[in-house]
Amino acid sequence: MNRYSTLIPILVLPVIICVYLVLFWNSVKDMAITSAGYPKLLIVMIACLLPFVLGREVIAWRRSHAADVSWRALWRDWNKVVYAAVALIAYIVLLDPLGAYVSSFLFVVGLAFALGCRRPLVLAGLGGGTLLLILVFAGALGVELPGT
């Protein structure tokens, strides 16, 4: 992994925040002070703070002598976090079209498997418990989950 590519993660959040500030400023720029005064004050304060945040991060990056990390090692460290995040996004996207029973079953059993659970009995119990939980929410607690 190139040394300069390690700078990219440092810039990700400040860039996202900058985009958000610009969008917010544009949405309130023509409004009266009662609606625009408070958000504009916050946007200015965050904009003043961001160079300090970024400056300290870049100084720390320049001074750091950490050994180069390969993509493979990085993936080994973070793969389960990625699995959990992707599974959660997929679950929420599919919750409405597939319904609560099918999507929840697939999410729980699939994620447990991806995180290292390999015992069929445990996976079956987890799947059964999931269906029971949805049944309790939909039946006993009266929560109208998608597809129930």
Partner: protein, 533 residues
Amino acid sequence: METLHGLAAGWDLIATPTGLMAMVIGLTVGFIAGVLPGFSGPNAAALLLPISLHYPLEIALALIISIYAGTTFGGTIPAILINVPGEGGAAATALDGHPMAKAGKAQLAIGIARMASVLGGVIGVGIAIVLIHPISAIAIRIGPPELFIASMIGVTVCATLIGDNVAKGLTVAFLGMLISAMSVGPISAEPRLDFGIPELYDQIPLVAAVVGIFALSEMMLLPKQMAESSGQADYVAADQRPQSTHWTGKLLRLLGLDNVPEIVRGVRVTLGYPWAVLQGSLIGLLIGTVPGIGSSVSNLVAYGAAKRWAKDKSRFGKGHPVGIIASEASDNALAGGSLIPTLTLGIPGNATSAVMLAALYLYGIQPGPQFMSAHPGEAYAVLLAAFCSSVLILPLGIVLSSPLIYFTKIKMPILVPATMLISVIGAYATNASMFDVSVALAFGLLTLLLRIFNYPIIPLFLGLILGPLAENNFVRSLALARYHADIFWQSTPSKVLLAVLAGLLATGIARNLRRRPTEERAEGHEGIAATPD
């Protein structure tokens, strides 16, 4: 007199079977959350918040405060048995609790921690009950400009004390306030950055935000945290009590009553150090009143103070009861302290109090100085629930300490999907809306990124909670002064509060400048910020 009237009104609300049940459930959930890796008070409160909304306000608040009390004690069990604190507030407990357990006195150490937790909670909440009315009488005279500055002080204290980088803390806090301003304007009702989504005209759904910030992000990061802590230790093996083969012995063991002399000894040893209990409780109470500082700070400060004042300092770190007492008393007294700014100013003392304020918004109640006068019964009911929960730690702690050990056996691949499922359903259940689930996901992913890049997350949540209070008072102040900004530095209280704000910023910046940026990155190299209190 007002306090007695308030207590009577609060007692009527909370001294019901439902109230008692809420406290028992809250404590039990808190015990489990304290023992489970990756869980803390706000996580557990976030999971139960959607369910608690089906009950009256005082019951929901009693549930949340009981969860907090339960978590503080639950976290001590793994701290004592295997030297891994279940939550930040038990870190100092491990320093003397674990050596005591290694010496074969695990039951005694847990007994001391249990009794110190009870006394700390009772003293902390007791003092809060006495002080809260006079403080609220002063708070109600505070005008909109002072309240706006007080809100800014709240987020500044939190941002400057949590984490090592003041700029990061303040950025995240102001970002939280800005996100809370995505609703329509307070007077003109003009939509601001709504992306064409009508649901955003109203405030950001707080239950979904709480679930995303505390539960989803935590669960997404747990696999990495568990890999770093090299798997789970065998808690049961660390409990070196002889096993009975007879069924009565097994039953007593399950109920935690197989070693009654040790339980009694734990109580006696704690009562033998009244000064340590009082000192730890007062430190916890004081630190609890400062917004954003959690038990992870107070227990270490109390431990340090107990060691400094001790005649024989060499006994600390080798299983000295005073070390456990000071840490646990401060940890539980913190709840009382954090309730003072929460109930009198609407500024949360810690993350769990912020969840309580989120519950108030969901019941249509604006937190702030008027809360104590408009809802005295509910306010005192919360204080009484905190008091009763502290007392209930003793019997429930005795019965549940042994079964709790087995919860630590739950493996990460089961815990993560199960908790995520409950979180998503909880977020959906509040308004039966997929929009709320999407908000929970958005906050979960945002918090995940913030934690990976070592931004503190508590200021984000505090900003989200304090945002509406700050904006309303900002706009009201400007309207009162016909849109002249000098109203913010006209009155003497405003000048004092601005001086405090400036002082806080100056000390925060000075502390920051003393640290080299490389130190911050070296400490946070793994990219995971501290778990919230």
